[in-house]
Assembly symmetry: C2
Homo-oligomer: 278 residues x 2
């Protein structure tokens, strides 16, 4: 079986930057998971004593708190500042941008539409910057019978697929007077998705390595499955089933933007030494 | 043969308004055709002595000049004002709006993209309000390798089809940072198009009545042909060929936004009294 890596995969700029920040801030605590990869978070804790705090009430004045790549809600940011916590901001700049856009457009009187998952921390953070009406949708049906104002600012979760974003934009363009569309989809996401699409077309099995709660990783799995039915999401070695590879000729490997290189290498090695190899 | 009229057809708000203005301004001259319907322009001349002037140099101080529904170029407007001409503005308010948008967006530093026909008077007028870069396209291919600035304001000729506008918008959204999309497609156009679509689906011949240089009329013909191959554009009685109707069971009739009711009635009567009727 031949193993091929996607042309683009793994760590994006924002994740690399956040990990560097965490490594440079030993003994700090991240408010929520720094990135959506448990194994890397575990490594930061073991190697740099960077711990994970989920409850905002546990932080005390003088504590050093790292803000996760996905950003946090504006109210939480203000609360932590009031508490006198030392804040280190590891929010990805590509997430800070939609936060700023939402705040500014809201101030200018635009209703805000966000294409994304309202339960994802990035979107919880971004939407918290809206002052007026804000609507989070995953598809056109989510608008239901809701009527917005005639001036709309539209942004997307950084990890979304462009085709789906265009569909939301088209719907709004036909129904409202002005739609101000900001391309907030991350380029790294886009490149990983394109590379996965290409890879899946020439593979009979695709392994997508990444956290199961990582939005961009799940998007890669979704794209891979469009072209290669046998596509699997694995977080670590324990998820691999050797039976998957039986009779396969071409295994494609890709990885989400929050998947560290050391996990990718572990899995690559494990697959290439499987007894079922031919 | 049964004859069915489209649910919406004929004069739009802007055309009605312009004709009223012309009727209320006898002995004036329009700079260019008031609307794209030669027969109605002829009626205004015969009944109200409203004449047609094509050459801006022929206008003198004190002349009363009517600005056509499609609007005129900003430079021409300034020139006529300088000349001391008495201007009566019959520009459709739905055309004035994109003129204002282009001027304002240009002032705010946006590159302008116009979806429309660069040779149509409406678009010549609208584009003249741009100060910076402006690009007029009929389809995505027209962009070629041209690269615009990262902030784009997009407007459409009032008579364009929404699906095609959405396609242009989608292309820009994927390639630029901010695309500010204004829905400048006229509602009357949209309603006439929808009604034509419905009509054509249940007809075996469609007659589209209107001027051959009328953009919205040609769009209706285009839509009719999608669903009914035997669709014909007629300006007046002289264009009708009785052979078209031989063996037909259902004739749909629609008319462009600049087609007066009296022509529609003439043609309806002519078709319903054709000897080939059954």
């Amino acid at each position: 079986m031949k193993i091929t890596m996607a042309e683009n995969f793994g760590f994006c700029f924002g994740v690399k930057r956040a990990i560097k920040i965490a490594e440079n801030t030993p003994h700090a605590t991240t408010y929520g998971p720094l990135i959506h990869n448990k194994k890397e978070i575990d490594r930061l804790w073991r190697t740099y004593d960077v711990s994970l705090g989920e409850d905002i009430e546990t932080f005390k004045s003088g504590d050093t708190v790292i803000i996760r790549t996905h950003g946090i809600e504006k109210e939480d940011l203000n609360y932590l500042n009031q508490k006198g916590v030392v804040l280190v901001d590891a929010t990805c700049p590509f997430v800070t941008k939609p936060q700023e856009i939402v705040e500014q457009m809201s101030n200018e009187g635009y209703d805000i539409v966000i294409f994304g998952d309202e339960n994802h921390p990035e979107i919880k953070g971004v939407r918290s910057y809206a002052k007026g009406a804000v609507c989070v949708v995953q598809n056109i049906e989510d608008f239901g019978s809701k009527r917005l104002s005639n001036k709309i600012a539209l942004i997307a979760q950084t990890t979304r697929k462009m085709e789906n974003y265009q569909r939301i934009a088209s719907h709004l363009i036909a129904n409202y007077g002005e739609v101000r569309v900001f391309n907030t989809i991350c380029n790294a996401t886009f490149e990983n998705q394109e590379a996965t699409r290409k890879l899946a077309q020439s593979s009979d099995i695709v392994i997508v390595i990444g956290g199961k709660d990582s939005s961009n990783t799940r998007q890669l799995l979704y794209i891979a499955k469009e072209f290669c039915v046998e596509s699997y999401l694995v977080e670590g070695l324990e998820d691999i089933d050797p039976l998957w590879f039986r009779g396969k000729k071409m295994c494609g490997i890709t990885a989400g933007a929050s998947t560290p290189q050391w996990i990718i290498e572990q899995i690559h090695t494990a697959i290439s030494t499987l007894p079922t190899q031919s």
